[in-house]
C-alpha cells in the first residue's frame, strides 16, 4: 500500500512542475507585457509605478530566466506582492481567503455525496419507476441550469420577494451586536443560498453517475449468486451492490473537484463572498498578475493533492488497483 501511495506521489511531482509552467506561460504569452496593462491608461513612461514593477519583477530579462526566478521564489513560499495600492503579499491575501472557499467546497461535497448516493442507488434499483423518471428529469434540468441564473432567481425569491435570507457577504451589518449563537446563525443564513446554488449542478451529475454505476453492478454475477444463496434483498443491495457501486464514485469525486472549485468563481462573485473565486475575478479585472499566478498555482496544486488523496483512497478500498492494473 505504501509503495502504491509513493508511486502516485512520484507521478504527481512532474505535474506540480507543469502547474507552475502553465501558470507562467498563460500570463506571459499574452501580447503586451503584464505591467503595461496593469498601469492602465497612464502612458508607461510617465507612470513611475510601472518602472518599479518592471524592475522588481525582472520583466526585462529573458522569459526562461524570469520563469526560473519565479519558481525559485515559489519554492521559498514567496509569491510576490499584489499590484493593488497597498501591495500586500499575495500569500497573505490567499491565506485570508482560502479557508472560506475550502469550507464551502467541503460542505458542498458532503451534501452532494450524502444526497446523490441514495438517490442514484434508488433510481437504479427501481429503474423506470416514477421515482427514477422524476430524478432523470431533475438531472437534465440540473445539467442545463446556469448556476449564476439559479443564483439570481433565488436572490429574487428569497432575498427580495420573501426577504428570508441575506443575499450578499458573510455577515450582517449588525453582526458585532449579536450574541455568539446569533452570530453562528447569521453566518449559516448567509451561506445557505450560495451552498444551494453550488450543490445543484453537482447533485444532478453525481446522482447520474451513481445510478449508472449501480446499474452496472446489479447486473453482475455475484449479485445473482448473493440472491441465489437466499440473502435478503436489503442485504444484497445494501451490502454487496452498494459497496461495489461506490468504488468508481471515489475517483469521480476526485476528478470533479476542479469543476466544483471552478464553480466558486461564479458563486462567490454573485454572493459577494470573500473567497478565492472572488479574489480571482477581482485580480482579472485589475490585471493584478502576481495575484492571478499565485491563485492559479495554489488552486491547481490543491486540486492535484485532492486527486492524489482520491487515488490513494481508491487503492485503500479496492486492493485490485494496487496490484498495478490501470483504471482506464
Amino acid at each position: 500500500m505504501l509503495a502504491y501511495a509513493l508511486r502516485r506521489l512520484l507521478l504527481a511531482l512532474p505535474l506540480l512542475l507543469g502547474i507552475t509552467f502553465v501558470s507562467f506561460i498563460v500570463i506571459h504569452l499574452a501580447p503586451g507585457d503584464p505591467v503595461e496593462m496593469a498601469g492602465g491608461d497612464v502612458p508607461m513612461t510617465q507612470n513611475p509605478q510601472v518602472g518599479k514593477w518592471r524592475e522588481e519583477l525582472g520583466l526585462d530579462k529573458p522569459l526562461h530566466v524570469q520563469y526560473l526566478n519565479w519558481v525559485s521564489r515559489l519554492v521559498r513560499f514567496d509569491f510576490g506582492r499584489s499590484f493593488a495600492p497597498h501591495g500586500r503579499p499575495v500569500l497573505t491575501m490567499i491565506a485570508e481567503r482560502l479557508p472560506i472557499t475550502l469550507l464551502l467546497n467541503i460542505v458542498e461535497m458532503l451534501i452532494i455525496v450524502t444526497m446523490a448516493v441514495p438517490v442514484g442507488a434508488l433510481s437504479a434499483t427501481r429503474q423506470y419507476s416514477a421515482f427514477d423518471k422524476v430524478t432523470t428529469i431533475f438531472v437534465f434540468i440540473g445539467f442545463a441550469t446556469p448556476d449564476f441564473w439559479l443564483a439570481l432567481l433565488l436572490m429574487i425569491l428569497f432575498g427580495v420577494q420573501l426577504g428570508w435570507l441575506p443575499i450578499s457577504g458573510l455577515r450582517s451589518m449588525n453582526w458585532e451586536y449579536l450574541s455568539f449563537w446569533q452570530q453562528q446563525g447569521d453566518f449559516l443564513a448567509h451561506l445557505t443560498l450560495p451552498i444551494v446554488v453550488a450543490t445543484f449542478g453537482g447533485l444532478a451529475g453525481f446522482s447520474r453517475y451513481m445510478r449508472q454505476s449501480m446499474l452496472e453492478v446489479i447486473r453482475q454475477d455475484y449479485i445473482q449468486s448473493a440472491r441465489a444463496k437466499g440473502l435478503a434483498e436489503r442485504v444484497v443491495i445494501g451490502k454487496h451492490a452498494l459497496r461495489n457501486a461506490l468504488l468508481p464514485i471515489v475517483t469521480i469525486l476526485g476528478l470533479s473537484l476542479p469543476t466544483l472549485i471552478g464553480g466558486s468563481v461564479i458563486v462567490e462573485s454573485i454572493f459577494a463572498i470573500p473567497g478565492m473565486g472572488q479574489l480571482m475575478v477581482q485580480a482579472a479585472f485589475e490585471r493584478d498578475y502576481p495575484v492571478l499566478m499565485g491563485n492559479l498555482v495554489i488552486v491547481s496544486t490543491l486540486t492535484l493533492l485532492a486527486n492524489l488523496a482520491a487515488d490513494v483512497a481508491y487503492g485503500l478500498v479496492d486492493p485490485r488497483i494496487r496490484v498495478g492494473r490501470r483504471r482506464r
Binding site: 505535474l15 507543469g18 502547474i19 502553465v22 501558470s23 498563460v26 500570463i27 499574452a30 501580447p31 503586451g32 503584464p34 496593462m37 437534465f140 434540468i141 445539467f143 442545463a144 441550469t145 446556469p146 448556476d147 449564476f148 441564473w149 439570481l152 432567481l153 436572490m155 429574487i156 427580495v160 449542478g201 451529475g205 449508472q212 452496472e216 476528478l255 470533479s256 476542479p258 469543476t259 466544483l260 472549485i261 471552478g262 464553480g263 468563481v265 461564479i266 462573485s269 454573485i270 473565486g277 480571482m280 475575478v281 485580480a283 482579472a284 479585472f285 490585471r287 498578475y289 492571478l292 499566478m293 491563485n295 492559479l296 488552486v299 491547481s300 486540486t303 492535484l304 486527486n307 482506464r328
Partner: protein, 286 residues
C-alpha cells in the same frame, strides 16, 4: 444509417430536442430580419418597461428591446458553442490520435499533458488568460476551445488503442501505407461516432461557459448582446425588472437542455454500448 434513424425517432425527447435545436439555429441566423426592434437602439421613454404587446419580453435600462437583444444573443451563443467545440475537437483529435497510434513516449507525454490540463479548475484558468487578452468573441471562442480538448483526446486515444490492432490496420501497414494515411483514412473514420456525440454534448457546455464569463463581465463585451451580459445588466435591476433576469436564463436553460437531449439521443441510437464511454468536451463548462 437507416437503423440509426429508426432508433433515433423512437426517442421522443431527443426528437423534441433536435427540433428546438433547429428552430434556435434558424432564429439565430435570421435574427437580423425577425427581431422586432434594433437590439442596440436605446429609447429613453421606455426604460425598464415590463413585457407588453410592443415589447414581448420588456425593455432594459436603456430602453432596448429584450427579445431583439436575446435573438441577437442567440447568434453569439451558438457561434461560440460551435466554433469553440470545433477548436477543442481539432486539438483533441490531433493529440488523441498521435498518442493512441504511436504509443510509447509520445503517448505518455500527451497523456501527462492531459492530466496537467485537467488539474486546473477551468474558470480560474480562463480568468487568468482573459485578464490579458482583448475581450472579443474570437478570443472567447479560442480560450474555451483551448481549455476544453482533453475529453476528446482521451476518447480518441481509447478508440485508437482498440482499433490499431485490427486486421484492416495491420494490412495497410503491411503494404506500406504511411502513418498519416492510416490514421486519416482508416482509423479515424471508425473512431468518429463517439467523438461526434462528445461534440454535440460539448456545445451546451461551451454555451454555459461563455454565458458564465459574459455574466462576470469578462466575456463578450457590451454593447454586443449575449445572454450572459443581458443577465449581468439585469442583476443590477434585480429588484425592479425580473424579466431581465428570467428570460435570458430560460433561453440558456432551454438551449442547453435541447442539445443535451439531442446528444444523448444520438449516442443511444448510434450504439447503446456507448452509453458509458462517451464523455463531454470539457465537462459541464466550469
Amino acid at each position: 444509417m437507416k437503423s440509426f434513424w429508426r432508433a433515433f425517432r423512437r426517442n421522443r425527447l431527443a426528437v423534441i430536442g433536435g427540433i428546438i435545436v433547429v428552430v434556435l439555429a434558424v432564429a439565430a441566423v435570421a435574427a437580423g430580419s425577425i427581431a422586432p426592434w434594433d437590439p442596440n437602439r436605446p429609447d429613453v421613454k421606455k426604460i425598464l418597461d415590463p413585457p407588453s404587446r410592443a415589447h414581448l419580453l420588456g425593455t432594459d435600462q436603456l430602453g432596448r428591446d429584450v427579445l431583439s437583444r436575446m435573438l441577437h444573443g442567440a447568434r453569439v451563443s451558438l457561434a461560440v458553442g460551435f466554433v469553440s467545440v470545433g477548436i477543442a475537437a481539432f486539438i483533441g483529435i490531433t493529440l488523441g490520435s498521435a498518442a493512441g497510434y504511436n504509443g510509447g513516449m509520445v503517448d505518455a507525454t500527451i497523456m501527462r499533458l492531459v492530466d496537467l490540463m485537467l488539474v486546473f479548475p477551468r474558470f480560474f484558468l480562463l480568468l487568468a488568460v482573459l485578464a490579458f487578452l482583448k475581450p472579443s468573441i474570437w478570443t472567447i471562442m479560442a480560450v474555451i476551445g483551448i481549455t476544453g480538448w482533453m475529453g476528446v483526446a482521451r476518447l480518441v486515444r481509447a478508440e485508437f488503442l482498440a482499433l490499431k490492432e485490427r486486421e484492416f490496420v495491420v494490412w495497410s501497414q503491411s503494404i506500406g501505407a504511411s502513418g498519416f494515411r492510416i490514421i486519416w483514412r482508416h482509423i479515424l473514420p471508425n473512431a468518429m461516432a463517439p467523438v461526434l456525440v462528445a461534440m454535440t454534448l460539448g456545445i451546451p457546455a461551451a454555451i454555459l461557459t461563455e454565458s458564465g464569463l459574459s455574466f462576470l463581465g469578462l466575456g463578450v463585451q457590451p454593447p454586443r448582446a449575449t445572454w450572459g451580459n443581458i443577465l449581468n445588466e439585469g442583476k443590477d435591476a434585480i429588484e425592479l425588472a425580473w424579466w431581465l433576469s428570467v428570460y435570458p436564463g430560460l433561453a440558456i436553460l432551454l438551449t442547453v437542455l435541447s442539445y443535451n437531449l439531442l446528444g444523448e439521443g444520438i449516442r443511444d441510437a448510434l450504439d447503446p454500448r456507448l452509453r458509458q464511454s462517451a464523455g463531454r468536451v470539457g465537462g459541464r463548462g466550469r
